[in-house]
Amino acid sequence: MSNETARPAAVNLVGLTKNDYKGTPSTLCKGCGHNSIVNQVIQIAYELNIRPQEIIRLSGIGCSSKSVAYFLGNTFGFNSLHGRMPSIGTGALMANHRLRGIGVSGDGDTASIGIGQFKHLMRRNLRMVYVVENNGVYGLTKGQFSATADQGQVLKYAGENQMPPVDICMEAIISGCGFVARTFSGDARQVRELLKAALSHRGTAVLDIISPCVAFNNHDASTKSYGYGKEHELPLHELGWVPVEEEIEVGAYEPGEMRVVEMHDGSHIQLRKLESDYDPSDRGAALSRLQTAADQREFITGLIYYDQSRPSLAELSDLTEMPISQLSPAQLRPRPEALDAVMAELK
C-alpha cells in the first residue's frame, strides 16, 4: 500500500481509481472465498469503467449478503431480508430500468429460504447479476448443512447430510434463466470473465460460485473446499469476455477450437474448447451435462447455458424511457379533465 501514496493512483476512463470501487472493510473470516469474489467485483468494475450511479447493489441475509457492503461503496444498495433479494431487486429495477443490479446471495439465501423468489426472478428476468456465494454450509449460525450440501457429507456439528443437494444451475435453467454459469472463487480469472459477461446480459445472469467456508466446510472431504476445488475443477472451456469495442480473434485457432457467443449488447464471449466441445446454447444438453456432473461428482465450471433471446420484464412492460421513479408530479397525476371523464362514466 505504501507505494500507492508515492505515485498518483491510476484512473480508468470514468476518472475513478480502483479504490473508488471499494466498500467498507470486509468483516468476513480471513481466507473466506467471498472476500476473493468481492475483490473480483471491484477489479472488473474498475476495468469496465462502470459509473457507480448506473448500478445498484442487492443482497439478502447471511455471510454472502454482507459482501455487498465491501464493494462499490459509492453505489446505492439494499441489503434486504433473508431470501428476499429477488423481490427487492425486481421492484427497484422496474422503478428504474436504466439501472443494472449486482446481487450477492448465498446457498441458504437462494436454495432454501429464497428458492421461491429465486425461481420467479429467473422467470421475470430482470437485468441483474445474481451471484451465489455457495459454500454448502450456514456460517453465521455455526455450521448447519445448507440445501446445496452433498448427500452423505459429514460435518462436525451437523453430522451426516441425508438429503440430495439442490443444484442452483439446474434450478436456474429450468426456471428460464438465460445466463447460467458455475465457477470457483479460487479461479479468479474465470470469475472475472464471467462477471464481465454477466453484466452484459440483458436479463438475469446467475453465477453459482463455489466459495469455501474456511470456518466450517473447508476440509478436504468437502466438495466445497479449496483443496477439492483446486484439484477437481473441470472447466468446460477457457472463457474470455470481449467488449463491444474490441475485435474478436478467432483466426488464431483451429476450426472448431473456438466458439464465439454474441451477446445482446454486442459484446462477445469466446469459449476455447478444452477436452471436448461444449455448446452452451443447448438447454437440454446443459441440463444433461449438469446431471452427468452431479452423478460423477465432477466440478464443472464455465458458462453452462446462454440464451439471449428472452427480453427482461422491464423490456416486456412497455415502459417509458424515463424511469418511473423519476417522473415529475405532472406526469404522476392525470389532469382534472381525466377525473371528470371518469366521474361522468360512473354516473
Binding site: F76, S80, S87, G89, G91, Q117, L332, P334, K347
Partner: protein
C-alpha cells in the same frame, strides 16, 4: 300453478298502509348463475330514482353452485346500514328456501319459482309464485344463458309489484352491458315478460312500494375498491405488485383497467407505471419496497392472510424507512376464516406489524369517497413519513356498490417528502437518517442520483445516521428514539377524526370504518329514546390529542367495532392509559356488516348506568 296471494284473509285485513321506500329485499340465488347482473340492475335503478339504497352481496367462497344472498335496503331517511331483517324474499334457490322463509318477518313477502313442487308455508306471509321456466324456454336461449336470463324474471316481477318504472331498469341494464344493446336486449325482453305476467296474474297483497325521490345532486355508483384504485391513480401510483386475494382483487383489477388509459406518456404512448402479479404476498411487498426505495410511488392490495405474510417486510419498511402504501381489504380471520365476509379484524396486528418494536400508521376509510381521498393522501403520507402506510378497508366497503357525490380533484399538490437532488447533496451534504428538522424524518436520495455522495446502503440491520452498520447501544437507542419522534409527527399529519358532539350527551362512541352506517342510524334511534350520544369517528392511527380530549369529556366511552376481541378498544386503552377504565368495548363479528339494531340493543340495554 298456485295462484298469488296464498294469504289468509285476516293477514290481508291487517295490512298496514303502504310502506314506501323503507324496507329490505333479500335475493337468494345460487352463485355463478349471473344473479349479480339482475341485482346490480335493481340497485342501480333504485339509486337513479333518488332513493337512498344500499346493496350488500353476501356470497360464498365458491365459483359456482353454492348459495348466495343479495341484500337491498331502501331507506327514505337515508340509512344504508344492513338491516337485521328483510321483508321481501326472492326465493330462487331451492337449497336454502326453508331457512330463507323462516327468516322472514310476519307480513313478509316471498316471490318464488312456481315450478318448484313444494315450498314451506307460513300463514303470516304473502306468496307470489312466478313460472320461471316458462319465460326461460320462451326466450329461446340455450345452456348457461338460460340461468342468466332466469334472474331477469324476478327483476320484472319485483318491478311490477313495487311499482318501479321499467325504463329505469332498462337504463341500468344497458349501463351494465356497457351500452351494448344486443347483450342487454334478451334480458330486457324477459324482464318485460315477467312484468306483464305479474300485472295480469298477481293481485298485490303486500304494502311495499317504491317511489322516486327528489334527486338533490348527481351521484356516482362505485365500489370502495374501485374508488381506492382511482384515488391511487390520482395520487400518482407508478408501481403496484400484488397477489390475488379476495376481497382485494378488484382494487388491482381497477388499476389495470384505468392505468393504460390514464397513465400513458403522451409523446411515446408508453406506460408510466408497472403492475406486477407476484408469486405471493412476500414478494409483492418486497417489490413494493424495492420500488419505493428506488423512488417510485409503490403500492399493494391484499387481505388478512396477505398481511400475515407481509409482516417480515413491514418491519424492514418501518426500520429502513421506505415509503409504501398497503391496502388491506379486511375479511374474517383467524386463518383463512370466512374469506368472503367482512370484518375489522386486522387492526391490532397491522398496527404493530413486524417483530421488535414496530408500529405502523393506519388509515381507516369509511366511505367510497374516503377510499378515493386516502388513495391519494396515503402516497403523500408515505413519502412524507418515509414509512409503509396501511389503509384498512373491508369487504363490505371494498366489494359492494355505494352511491356517492362525484369525487373531487385533489387540491393539494403531490408531496414527495424530503428528497435530495444531486445538486442539493453537493450543497448540503447527505446523511440519510440525520434528523435535521426535529420531526424525526431524515432526507432521502434515489438510486440514479448522479452525486456519488448521494449513495447509501439500505438495510434492516442496526445503523447510524450516515448510515453505516452499527451495533453500538447509543446508535441503536438514538435511532429508535428518532423513530418515536417520527411517529409523533405522524399523529398530526394523518387524517383527523370526524367529531359529532351533542350538547348534554352522557355517552361517547368511538368507532372507525364502515360501522359508521349502523352507528349513524343507531344514534338517531337512541336520541328518539332520549339517549344522547356524541361520536368520534377515527380515521387513522396513531391517535392525537383530539381523541384524548374526547375521551376526557364523557363519563362512558364505547368503542364499537366489527371484530371479536375489541382490538381498537385495546389499542386506545394503551394510548390513553390514564382513562383506560372509561373505555368500554362493544365488539361483534359474525361475518355480517353491523346493524343499527345491534348497536341500539347494546347501548339501550341499561349498560351505561
Amino acid at each position: 300453478m298456485r295462484q298469488n296471494g296464498a294469504v289468509t284473509e285476516d293477514v290481508q285485513l291487517t295490512q298496514p298502509a303502504t310502506i314506501t321506500n323503507d324496507f329490505s329485499i333479500v335475493v337468494a340465488t345460487v352463485n355463478g348463475t349471473g344473479s349479480q347482473t339482475a341485482n346490480l340492475a335493481l340497485l342501480r335503478a333504485l339509486m337513479k330514482m333518488g332513493i337512498p339504497v344500499n346493496g350488500k352481496n353476501i356470497f360464498p367462497s365458491n365459483i359456482q353452485g353454492a348459495p348466495t344472498w343479495y341484500h337491498i335496503r331502501l331507506s327514505h331517511e337515508g340509512y344504508v346500514a344492513r338491516r337485521h331483517t328483510s321483508e321481501i324474499l326472492v326465493a330462487f334457490n331451492q337449497a336454502t328456501v326453508q331457512q330463507d322463509i323462516a327468516k322472514l318477518p310476519p307480513g313478509g313477502v316471498c316471490i318464488y319459482n312456481a315450478d318448484w313442487r313444494t315450498i314451506p308455508h307460513r300463514d303470516d306471509l304473502v306468496y307470489y309464485p312466478i313460472p320461471v321456466n316458462e319465460f326461460v324456454v320462451r326466450s329461446g336461449l340455450k345452456g348457461k344463458l338460460r340461468d342468466y336470463i332466469a334472474n331477469m324474471v324476478y327483476v320484472g316481477a319485483l318491478a311490477q309489484l313495487l311499482g318501479m318504472p321499467l325504463p329505469a331498469l332498462e337504463e341500468a341494464l344497458l349501463k351494465h352491458f356497457n351500452g351494448k344493446r344486443k347483450l342487454a336486449e334478451p334480458n330486457i325482453e324477459v324482464m318485460h315478460a315477467a312484468h306483464a305476467f305479474a300485472e295480469a296474474n298477481i293481485v298485490k297483497a303486500d304494502p311495499f312500494a317504491v317511489s322516486p325521490m327528489a334527486v338533490t345532486e348527481e351521484t356516482i355508483v362505485i365500489t370502495g375498491n374501485e374508488a381506492a384504485a382511482l384515488g391511487s391513480i390520482f395520487g400518482g401510483v407508478s408501481f403496484a405488485a400484488w397477489y390475488p386475494i379476495t376481497p382485494s382483487t378488484s382494487l388491482i383489477d381497477t388499476l389495470n383497467e384505468y392505468l393504460p388509459r390514464l397513465r400513458r406518456d403522451p409523446e411515446s404512448g408508453k406506460a408510466t407505471y408497472a403492475v406486477i402479479q407476484s408469486e405471493d404476498e412476500l414478494a409483492a411487498i418486497g417489490m413494493v419496497l424495492g420500488a419505493g426505495w428506488a423512488g417510485a410511488r409503490a403500492m399493494t392490495a391484499t387481505s388478512g392472510p396477505g398481511i400475515s405474510l407481509m409482516a417480515e417486510f413491514a418491519g424492514l419498511g418501518y426500520f429502513a424507512e421506505i415509503p409504501a402504501v398497503i391496502w388491506d381489504v379486511q375479511r374474517v380471520g383467524p386463518s383463512t376464516g370466512l374469506p368472503t365476509r367482512t370484518s375489522q379484524g386486522d387492526v391490532m396486528f397491522t398496527y404493530y406489524l413486524g417483530h421488535g418494536d414496530t408500529k405502523n400508521v393506519i388509515l381507516f376509510p369509511a366511505t367510497v369517497k374516503e377510499c378515493f381521498e386516502f388513495g391519494i393522501s396515503s402516497f403523500d403520507l408515505a413519502d412524507t413519513l418515509q414509512a409503509p402506510i396501511f389503509v384498512l378497508s373491508d369487504l363490505d366497503l371494498g366489494m359492494n356498490n355505494w352511491t356517492s357525490a362525484p369525487f373531487d380533484y385533489p387540491t393539494e399538490p403531490i408531496n414527495r417528502g424530503k428528497v435530495l437532488s444531486a445538486q442539493e447533496v453537493a450543497e448540503h451534504g447527505f446523511a440519510r437518517y440525520k434528523d435535521l428538522d426535529g420531526d424525526g424524518i431524515g432526507h432521502r436520495t434515489f438510486p440514479g442520483n448522479e452525486n456519488p455522495a448521494a449513495a447509501w446502503l439500505a438495510r434492516g440491520t442496526g445503523h447510524n445516521e450516515v448510515p453505516t452498520y452499527s451495533e453500538k447501544p447509543e446508535d441503536w437507542l438514538a435511532n429508535m428514539n428518532r423513530l418515536d419522534r417520527k411517529f409523533d409527527t405522524a399523529r398530526r399529519l394523518v387524517p383527523a377524526p370526524v367529531l359529532q358532539e351533542v350538547e348534554g350527551a352522557e355517552i361517547g362512541i368511538i368507532a372507525y370504518g364502515t360501522t359508521v352506517y349502523a352507528i349513524d342510524e343507531a344514534r338517531d334511534r337512541l336520541a328518539e329514546a332520549g339517549i344522547k350520544s356524541s361520536y368520534l369517528r377515527l380515521r387513522a392511527l396513531p391517535v392525537n390529542e383530539t381523541v384524548r380530549e374526547f375521551i376526557r369529556r364523557y363519563p362512558q366511552v364505547y368503542v364499537i367495532e366489527l371484530n371479536h376481541d375489541g382490538q381498537m378498544h385495546k389499542i386506545l386503552q394503551t394510548e390513553v392509559p390514564d382513562m383506560a377504565a372509561k373505555l368500554k368495548s362493544l365488539a361483534h363479528l359474525d361475518g355480517m356488516p353491523l346493524t343499527a339494531k345491534w348497536v341500539v340493543d347494546r347501548l339501550n340495554g341499561g349498560s351505561h348506568e
